[in-house]
Symmetry: D2
Subunit: 347 residues, 4 copies
């Protein structure tokens, strides 16, 4: 079969590789019908994730059809159309028992396209298939579904639920890339009074409006602290989400919140940040971090099937499954291409 | 009357000042029967709290007898024996309505011995008396009661409740000064499996054992990360509390916790800290900060009356109310004097 | 002035009475600009609430203008346009400190039009004015505001928040009168997948659709258990709200929920109900009851100002303040008049 | 092998039966080292549980040694000493994913000694072994462990956690049989101010004192409402637990609580109860029910290993594994024998 293979920093190719086979009796072999690329894949290609080594097939998001299952797989059957979650869960360890699948200590967590071969391929082996895939509901297209593999549960769990967004809240989202947009879209499920999107690119702020932000701030030219103060009698936001992953945006998020407010960090950080505890120690703030656990995927599936989450909005570009090299090129230059999420589908 | 008056960094005196009078109809005038000194008072004397200006009477903890009340005071009566909380609450603003009295935006919060004259005096004016004092229960001595003015609710709310200590948890407390000891004592209310006290002074670790730590670590000679790893299959503590207020101890607290764990910051910080988000972003951690709100004081009063919180254990030195200068001297040199809390009582 | 006075079961009149005066220094005297009638007032008129005695002015909902305040009132000023909450709160007792104002043990709770004279009058004395009124936000009409005096916080707190409605839930609301409609409307704030309204009157079910129910069931002709089973793989609703107040509807609510589900009772009951613990003991259910506390009124004010709660939808009939007798007549015959809420406004 | 076999109401025998074999690849075959009898077994013998049919081996509690495992079992190995939980969990269905194992819809829940053969035998087949057994920690005896198979998680989860017992609470426990005692013992983990045990038998009240009740009420001669009112300024208990399973005790529990209080039903009920909603609708109460889920077993194992839960206190009588007939006889006559829990161990 063909797959997108990583060959060290900056190097990748769409090449012939052996088709995967079952290795454990809890595995499923899934034919990939629809795949996508994540910002994390770009980080890997920069060499930022050293656990990914030469020869690894990338990708941790897929919708596909089950071709074969191990003897211990109970709930997934050959022919099933399934969502392959970005998080693999053993289902039995202390973390999995609490729904914290991303922290699985028994061989799961984020392993696809990271520690084992991933989904940017014609076929993928999915370990612990019973607890790491979801049956595709009727009436939800592959394009909608694949947004539930990573981006939507990440925005929803790590941003909205960790931030405890509630009706009437003022919510500030720092960064309006795909993850920020996912947070904005899913924050609306809890009826905040205002969702303020903050970014340096006007095009992203325009997208933020489409995804549910009622106020946008280009912090190259406008002071987001003033805007939020104006909405909150000078107190600050109830919730701020960091969806970029650099020190400056994290710092901004901690300054945006009111006493008693919450900062939900979603961004992937590569270096330490300054935390101004000399100001924050007295302000009753809560700061959360998190890799997605995907415990919310069943809920999001219901909402997508019900058209309450319009997952298809993320899709800006469509390709055939063979066109991964071109799709990466488009996805890696969003400022020029306007790409949010690119979808690759078997023809 | 006499009072302990601040005269700029390093300067204080026990001197004759005018007896306070009621200024607002919600005020009470309280005769101070028992007072104490807080670590925060030492910070003020170092000049770390610029809002405190020359001429201010210090102190935010007292047990006393009501001498006079304003016309709008409903629930506090002349002759009542009351606990004066370190936090003053208007009772009507959005923060007070949620029990977040420390963040009162209507003239309350931490004001005694800070923005208005405090309790280290023969008499003190207490604003918003109905919502800022607590009736003293029978059977609780002044010495026990005064530990509920600040130190016990601080350890309980900002450490134990923010940290969500639960039965079976492994709890690490960094810093075994009075606030750390208060956290250790009140953590025991939730039956953790282990409370690990970490400090550089063996004398404080000895005290920690008396207050409920079952494991002590002198981190001058022993690695607390190893000790906690040994208790937790290498995962880390469920909860870590920072009870010192310097960058190194905060950093240690964030390293001590397991994935999914909680860091409750209690320490008063004077400078920014490095937060290692490059490691923490993926670990599902929660970090909280807080000034005490004293919403838990009624609960602690019940527990003290019931001898479930042995508040009197903190008291190492006793003085007359006139002996503030000496009491400060003893309290400021704990390494030599062994002082935890000093109590000054009207004779 | 004139007021609507209760004269024993079945008897009321709009008559000349003395204008109220301040009795306590925390009172405000409010000129009633807009009033309404509650289903509870009809209960009183039937004699169901014996605490209401001959001579009592009815009514516990008003929007008005402050005419005079007692000397201890701090935050409410003469000339302020205010919402008079159905619940009066002392602000200092243990229940008020926890936001449970409806259970105030210090002279508050539901007292207006019950234990003291109420709001169906040209003027009303409001005790504990600082904690029992809310400033009217700009851009919210009197008609919208008055729906926040009782009906909307009741549906939101006692139905939706007690029921813990969450995104993706299937919510069943038994009874589509004004309180049921309020619950349906406010349930939508949390993005449930389905809101199923159940009633015997098609006209009410038609209204339920307008207020946000996507499925309606006339349980005279259709089996709501089957409908809900069909939506939930046979499991039952996540949340069921009882908004009628008779044994049969409560029983239905307990049968509608899935294992692990919640029943939020909102209805005012006059007799015991059979609780089928022989079936429910094993099903992990939660049943809640509650008088509204109105702790959510500030949130609802934000949502109304932001047009996220369309409070004005309840208003079906409008009258002058003098027309209380006619308004009662219309409100008491909803099957014929189609009345949901009637509004009486000073001309 | 031998097993205790049910032969219809009133009939049982210790008889020769075939040794169980693995049926599914997720099964484990466990040699029973220690077993016990539950109050539910007596209900079965009365014919109250019609799902249990002639020929069924009873029992849902065991400590044993793994003899054989199916090919899909990953975490349990031959030779392991394990606790067999009363609840079997598939680990993959929507309920198991939320830790609500008792409600498993995929073949688990309470099945041992109910829908399949149970643990009162020399060997037992345990389905879904990975998620239905717990490794026995060092330093915990079989006698201690077996109390964690059912009785302790039931009291802790269904009584204490559902009731949300908190420091300083007044907790009333109606019924001081084994389940009531388990609730009393585990309530102490949260440092309530008072635990009031209520029963008709003085011997049980005496036991209640040993297990942590500080106040006991024989409600044949004393009014528990008065006792609780005296402890709570007339308000009522914060939490009441029903641990009997008859209408009168449930009614008492609902009368014992204060406004805003919680009733946690633990008892197994055979008939409907009168719920006095005409009094309770206005009192903000919460009523919970539940079959145990055993999600707390890992926590209880830590507490038992740490001697914070003294599980061995329940054991009043010890037998050999062959002595089931005698053990049933002793357990069924607690008033005469003083039996709390009987333990049967392989010699």
């Amino acid at each position: 079969m063909h797959a997108l293979v990583y060959h060290g920093p900056g190097e990748k190719s769409w090449e012939e590789v052996p088709k995967p086979t079952l290795q454990d009796d809890t595995d499923a072999l899934v034919r990939v019908d629809t795949a996508t690329i994540c910002g994390t894949d770009l980080h890997i290609l920069k060499g930022d994730v050293p656990a990914v080594t030469d020869g690894r097939i990338l990708g941790h998001e897929a919708v596909g059809t089950v071709e074969e299952v191990g003897s211990a797989v109970k709930n997934v059957h050959v022919g099933d159309r399934v969502l392959v979650s970005c998080i693999t869960a053993c289902g039995a360890c202390r973390y999995c028992r609490e729904g914290s699948y991303g922290q699985c200590i028994n061989g799961g967590g984020w392993i696809l396209g990271h520690k084992i071969d991933g989904t940017q391929a014609e076929y993928v082996r999915v370990p612990f298939a019973d607890t790491s895939t979801h049956p595709a509901p009727d009436g939800v297209t592959d394009e909608q579904l694949i947004m539930l593999a990573d981006i939507l549960p990440t925005g929803y769990e790590v941003g909205v639920l960790n931030g405890a967004v509630s009706p009437g809240d003022v919510v500030a989202v720092v960064g309006a890339g795909p993850i920020g947009l996912s947070s904005i879209m899913s924050a609306r499920l809890f009826s905040p009074a205002h969702v303020v999107a903050i970014d340096l690119a006007d095009s992203r702020l325009e997208a933020a409006k489409q995804f549910g932000a009622d106020i946008t701030v280009n912090n190259g030219s406008e002071d987001p602290l003033e805007v939020v103060a104006g909405l909150t009698d000078g107190l600050g936001a109830d919730v701020a989400m960091e969806a970029v992953g650099v020190p400056a945006t994290f710092d901004l998020a901690t300054k945006l919140i009111r006493p008693g407010g919450r900062v939900a960090n979603i961004g992937v950080h590569g270096e330490p940040v300054d935390l101004h505890l000399e100001e924050l120690w007295i302000r009753n703030v809560t700061i959360t971090t998190g890799l997605v656990d995907t415990y919310s995927t069943p809920t999001l599936l219901k909402l997508a099937a019900n058209h309450q989450v319009e997952a298809e909005r993320f899709v800006t570009h469509r390709f055939g499954l063979d066109d991964f090299m071109e799709a990466y090129d488009v996805f890696a230059r969003p400022a020029e291409t306007g790409a949010l999420k690119v979808v690759l589908a078997r023809s």
